[in-house]
């Protein structure tokens, strides 16, 4: 007989342990520490951090920039998501069909996905440059007056939204493409026999069948809209007058330019609550309403 083999309990935990240590250190612990530190003032060379209770939160409520940033993020999320989802669906349907130059189109749509956001932002920055950027040259052809696209309050955020949609639509396209390829061609043939138009077929058959993919894409898009601010660092630095600052960018500003760790922790907690709320919503609400095959 062999010696007693180590129990499943021991092996299981030993296997999980290395990953668990890192996850706890860099995800769970910092999450808890964010909450804890949000009740403290920021340490200064002359004065260590002290307990200030809800002061950071009180400051937050009275901070007009915070509300502006939250509003920016709201509009940014609200605009980028439907736009990129609709475009992604459209791209996928086109590229899945028998369209001329299919390979080239697919390449064109997907390439932005593999480029670093920071590189993309540099290219678009040039694109938007007042005076001699490509956009100005095109509008100039039509005799329109010169406009500082990234420098004015009204157009800066929409400009960033365009960049995000451009970067993400192709990424979402491939998930729709995968889903479309799962749909049996018989369905389309049957519908055509019964005289259903292509739009009708899309609306009544394809679209509902794509629902699980849409849910997946939606969650990804929401997370991305709160997670990715690289283009802001490059293109606008949150300006003009915070018109393009998003929540994470503001956290970066407060935490690493003003070095106000206490306030940054309070802001981070708001971001974590938003992300957690989306996670909850996904489990409780959306999952049930989505049609699964």
């Amino acid at each position: 007989m062999r010696g007693r083999a180590p129990s499943s309990n021991v092996i299981g935990w030993l296997l999980v342990l290395p990953a668990a240590v890192l996850l706890v250190t860099f995800t769970h612990f910092p999450t808890a520490a964010t909450l804890y530190h949000s009740f403290f003032s920021t340490a200064k060379p002359s004065r260590p951090a002290v307990w200030v209770g809800l002061d950071n939160y009180r400051n937050m409520v009275e901070d007009p920039v915070f509300w502006q940033v939250l509003g920016n993020n709201f509009w940014y999320t609200l605009a980028t998501i439907p736009l990129s989802i609709v475009l992604a669906m459209l791209m996928a349907v086109w590229v899945n069909g028998k369209i001329a130059g299919r390979g080239l189109l697919r390449l064109s749509f997907f390439t932005p996905t593999v480029l670093p956001m920071i590189a993309v932002a540099n290219i678009w920055l040039f694109f938007y440059t007042p005076g001699y950027g490509l956009l100005e040259q095109i509008t100039g052809l039509f005799g329109l007056p010169s406009h500082n696209w990234l420098g004015s309050q009204s157009t800066a955020l929409p400009c960033l939204i365009v960049v995000t949609v451009w970067k993400e639509a192709g990424f979402f396209m491939i998930f729709y493409l995968a889903a479309l390829q799962q749909i049996s061609p018989n369905l389309g043939e049957a519908a055509a026999l019964m005289g259903a138009g292509r739009w009708y077929f899309f609306r009544r058959v394809t679209f509902p069948l794509l629902m699980p993919t849409t849910l997946f894409v939606l969650i990804n898009a929401v997370i991305n809209s709160f997670r990715l601010v690289d283009h802001i660092v490059v293109m606008t630095k949150g300006g003009p007058d915070n018109a393009t600052s998003l929540l994470l960018y503001y956290i970066y500003d407060v935490g690493f330019k003003f070095w106000d760790a206490g306030y940054a922790a309070a802001l981070t907690l708001v971001l974590l609550i938003i992300l957690a709320a989306f996670a909850m919503g996904q489990f409780l609400f959306l999952d049930r309403r989505v049609h699964y095959q």
Partner: protein, 267 residues
């Protein structure tokens, strides 16, 4: 049919718009500055912009840093996620369900948003401005664990038992039975991970402050926002250079890339 023609035209217009920024960047980078906004077919081609960019900043060092960083993260992820995924897929241990839920938390709360506290941790560990500090928060990847767990669950139990009967222990079984069967998933995960970390910017920007540890993305940002003025030809050349290896790899292995992103996405 009329609508078909209209649709094709629409698709091509969108495709053209999507290709435009990159095409524009390529034009600017490969032509002398005088032609950067002057589109004539007779414009002379040049590599001078690349040479100037290469000479103006320590891009060679940045390339080395990014390569090391990406390799280090991927290696750690593959080992850690494989072990954890194997445990979650095939061992029943006390607290498994809760532990797995706690892993999944990272899918929503990614290291990208915990910058303030993770910076504090790195500072306390005394490893600020090192490649390790950039990589550590990403090494245990919930996404990798989830993906591999799903894959390992589809491995027939008989194969596992057969290996055990031959006297293989847990780790040997994992290595001989599970890892080979999950190969396509490993390839997919590796491609996604490499592109993610090649492109990652905000966290490396925060924890690095010297040439010794800066990855390409941060180096590019410092270069293009520095005292280069607005010589766009050189900046676009640098931009293309930094995304070059990934872009070329993508163009060569387009199918694998698309399939990997697809495979990694469908969970």
């Amino acid at each position: 049919m009329k609508t078909r023609a209209l649709e094709t035209a629409g698709a091509w217009l969108l495709g053209f718009l999507w290709a435009l920024p990159l095409a524009y960047a390529v034009w600017t980078a490969f032509h002398p500055a005088a032609f950067s906004t002057h589109f004539v077919p007779s414009a002379p081609l040049t590599l001078e912009n690349f040479a100037k960019a290469w000479a103006a900043a320590p891009f060679a060092r940045y390339f080395v840093n990014t390569t090391l960083l990406v390799t280090m993260i991927l290696a750690a992820q593959l080992v850690l996620c494989t072990l954890a995924a194997y445990a979650f897929a095939r061992f029943s241990f006390r607290g498994r369900e809760i532990a797995f839920l706690l892993v999944l938390v990272q899918l929503m709360i990614m290291p990208d948003v915990l910058i303030v506290e993770n910076y504090r941790t790195m500072s306390r560990l005394g490893i600020l401005d090192t490649l390790g500090a950039i990589g550590l928060p990403y090494m245990a990847s919930a996404f990798g664990i989830f993906l591999l767990r799903q894959t390992f669950k589809t491995v027939p139990k008989e194969l596992d038992e057969a290996a055990r009967v031959e006297g293989a222990g847990a780790l040997l079984t994992l290595w001989r039975v599970y890892v080979p069967l999950a190969r396509p998933v490993y390839v997919a995960y590796a491609l996604v991970s490499v592109s993610y970390h090649w492109n990652n910017f905000l966290w490396p920007l925060i924890v690095t402050n010297s040439v010794n540890s800066r990855p390409l993305t941060v180096g590019l940002q410092i270069f293009s926002s520095g005292d280069q003025g607005v010589d766009w030809s050189i900046i676009t050349a640098a931009t293309l250079m930094t995304s070059g290896p990934l872009l070329i790899a993508f163009l060569l292995f387009q199918r694998q890339f698309v399939q990997s992103f697809m495979r990694a996405g469908i969970r």
